[in-house]
Amino acid sequence: MTEVSSRRRVRVPVQSLVLLGVIVVASLVFFVLSPSFLSVGNVGNVLLQAAPTVVAAVGMTFVIMTGGIDLSVGSLINLAMVAAIAASGVTSASSGDSSGWTYVVAIAVALACGLFNGLAINLLKVHPLLVTLGTLTLYRGIALHITGAGDRAAAGPITALGRGDIGGIAVPIIVAIVVVLLGSFVMRSTVFGRQVVALGGSERSARETGLPVRRLRIAVYVISALCAVISGILTVGQIGTLQVSLGVNYEFTVITAVIVGGTSLFGGKGSIVGTALGALLLTVIVNGLNSIDASIYVYDVVRGLVLVAAVLADSLTTRRLSLRRRGRQKQILAEATSAGAHA
């Protein structure tokens, strides 16, 4: 037995270590340019800013691990929060307290949206990209209909999570850490998590070996929705108002964090810890650029470059795509473009 365990290789999470290195280097660069960047207050700030993205990205990692994608997270957050605040009777941007029920309603709406995504993908048998592109518009449309495109006040219990602290540590940071640890455990050490990874590795094998493919697919979109709504509750609590623009383009931030964190867009490869580091890196960049007073237009340039660099690093490590697999990608692209043309 000892012989067996000594023979086992310890898998060093190279990608996560590299990311950690990049985060350290980026922090040092910003520190040199603007010494206040590494002040205790600002480090806490970076972590607080990163927390909602980390939480949503953990959920997204489950989806992308299966080879899917969830473009609807931003809209889903918006709809869930709008519905929850409307349910507690708040109708203006300046006043009105939410009730404790807000949480229940927000989570219930989010779960329903996630379930709808999963069911629709199973039923329509089209690429998740198309389904969630549709629900992105759908969920946002419903939310706009409810609010009439106006902001809403977010006060009372709903802000407790976003603003509270336990022993001096902000609640969002604690929530993010718990979600990462839990997500990592589920992905690595439960039957469900391993089945998700297997599905991403080969959908054909998953079907042939009789894995519950349809149930797994529904589950990952529900998980993504649940993480998204927690992220939304943290964000709204921090801001104090529910803005019409809540969650617009959020899916790109979240997906970027997952990809930068080393999860393959084709599924089957990646880690939750990597995702958390990816989200952290993106926040460090935004916060750092802010602290050196960079032009706001530079932000997107840098974020874009980071994404391209991450994708490049990924494709260099997984160069050997089979021809068959390339064929499948082409097919997906073709499906996507032809459906886009019909839309």
Binding site: V4, R8, V191, R194, L323, R324
Partner: protein
């Protein structure tokens, strides 16, 4: 499961099973009995219906009519789930493994949980290491990712996985195609042990020598029916071959080759290397010569073909009759008279949603376009109709979508496309894979015709008899290298298999 009489009552029976795809009958009213404690060898040419039969047995495809009887009970609802419930396991030709997961996880994919819903990798790996040692007598590090293993070992993983979930019937669909000699012997030992335990084994193969090694009974399929069923030893190899091919098909023979030492060299490959898959391959082909390439799956044969035309980037030189072929790519290859018909024709080279006409003429556009790029449809139609007739493509018409044709006819259409461009060198990767016997003979005659016209031909095939019929020389590949070269007088299946096999030891220590 062995409560009933082993000798008389079959464990699993197919009664009057029929199946058609797109109106083409694949299985015709087929009966088959499988007994516990016996190994049934299922032989047949490509296209005989073996895979369909296997898929019906495993519940992956439902039959159009007929019934399945298991342990004396007629199964009204046969499905994959029902099959595994009854302990039926299968090793499919196309492996159903997860390359991104460890050997241990792959083997235990059906019961990953070691403590309820939780997974302990250490426990899984210990369990799997023991399985490999007990079943196959191999020490395999089960924490390795399956995607990192050589193909032969992946096959072993699939085998162990299937054995582990089956308890009554095990279907093995050509499990030995990528196994070395040693690995084959290990598999056969396992098969004999399972048979003694009372399993019913169904072994699908086209290697006749495996009948002797593991078989109890032999069933030979042709054209969707079982044409011969016999105890081992009742049929001679020659009789088996005759039954497989059918007597109406005369042996395909080739006139004496006219290649001499003076024939110009039309293709020369020098030290071709590709990251991991090709390890310095050199050979040359003369005009009018047919060079066969043998080897196990994963030896790098397809990769060699792809590297020569430039689909795959590789270092090394390729020299054609008119000089070195640099900056290799398909369009320049075609201009220089070098074509590749790839193994995976359907996926890589077919436009399934376009008409047969366009698929056939897509490489001949210059013959029916004017200088201004106008297509002369009349000429195109004539060319298409002629090629459809020449290559005997069975289609409703030249305007039918390629996707509406049967697999074999799709392949014939793609072959027609490439062979009609007038190449000087033709690379054929498994040219007769998956097509029916009649079409196979036609393809072979077409290739002979090409050689007679002075075309240099390279044929990759896993079908040794086919290589023996067609080739002037056979090169054997092993792990990205050419390990042997045989002249026509020395063709011998055992010698080829030995040259193609790598021992488990050398692979294990890599």
């Amino acid at each position: 499961m062995t409560t009933h009489d082993v000798a008389s009552e079959p464990l699993l029976s197919l009664r009057g099973v029929s199946k058609s795809f797109d109106g083409t009958p694949v299985l015709k009213n087929l009966d088959l009995d499988v007994h516990a404690g016996q190994t049934l060898i299922l032989l047949g040419e490509n296209g005989a219906g073996k895979s369909t039969l296997k898929n019906i047995l495993c519940g992956l495809v439902s039959s159009d009519s007929g019934e399945i009887v298991f342990g004396g009970e007629t199964q009204s609802r046969w499905s994959g789930a029902r099959a595994s419930e009854l302990g039926l396991g299968a090793i499919h030709q196309e492996l159903s493994l997860f390359p991104n997961m460890s050997v241990a996880e792959n083997v235990n994919i059906h019961h990953l949980g070691t403590r309820g819903p939780f997974v302990s990798m250490t426990a899984l790996e210990r369990r799997t290491d023991a399985l490999f040692r007990d079943l196959l007598g191999i020490d395999l590090d089960s924490s390795r990712l399956v995607g990192e293993l050589p193909l032969g070992q992946r096959q072993l993983v699939e085998i162990v996985k299937a054995i582990q979930v089956s308890s009554s019937v095990l279907v093995l669909d050509e499990p030995t195609t990528s196994l070395s000699l040693d690995e084959r012997q290990q598999l056969f030992a396992v098969m004999r042990r399972l048979r003694e335990k009372g399993y019913a084994l169904i072994h699908v193969t086209h290697f006749l020598e495996e009948v002797e090694a593991v078989g109890d009974r032999v069933a030979i399929m042709r054209d969707g029916a079982i044409v011969a069923l016999a105890e081992k030893g009742e049929l001679s190899t020659h009789q088996i071959e005759e039954a497989m091919v059918g007597r109406e098909l005369a042996e395909v023979t080739r006139d004496a080759s006219r290649v001499t030492a003076d024939s110009p060299v039309v293709l020369e490959v020098r030290d071709l290397r590709e990251d991991q898959l090709l390890d310095g391959v050199s050979f040359s082909v003369r005009a009018g010569e047919i060079v066969g390439i043998a080897g196990l799956t994963g030896a790098g044969r397809s990769e060699l073909m792809q590297s020569i035309v430039g689909v795959r980037a590789a270092e090394g030189e390729v020299i054609l009759e008119d000089g070195p072929f640099e900056r290799r790519s398909i369009p320049t290859a075609k201009k220089r008279g070098l074509v590749l018909v790839s193994e995976d024709r359907r996926d890589e080279q077919a436009f399934l949603e376009r008409p047969v006409r366009e698929n056939i003429t897509s490489q001949l556009m210059d013959r029916f376009t004017t200088g201004w790029g106008w297509i002369q449809s009349r000429v195109e139609n004539e060319i298409a109709s002629r090629l459809v007739k020449d290559f005997d493509v069975k289609t409703a018409g030249t305007e039918a979508d390629l996707g509406s044709l049967s697999g074999g006819n799709q392949q014939k259409a793609i072959l027609a496309r490439w062979l009609s461009v007038g190449p000087k060198v033709c690379l054929l990767d498994e040219p007769t894979k998956g097509i029916d016997v009649g079409a196979k003979a036609q393809v072979q005659h077409t290739v002979f015709g090409l050689a007679e016209q002075g075309v240099g031909v390279v044929v990759v095939s896993s079908d040794l008899p086919e290589l023996f019929t067609m080739s002037d020389r056979i090169l054997v590949m092993k792990q990205g290298r050419i390990s042997a070269e045989l002249a026509r007088a020395d063709f011998d299946a055992t010698a080829i298999l030995r040259a193609a096999s790598s021992s488990v030891e050398t692979e294990g220590t890599r």
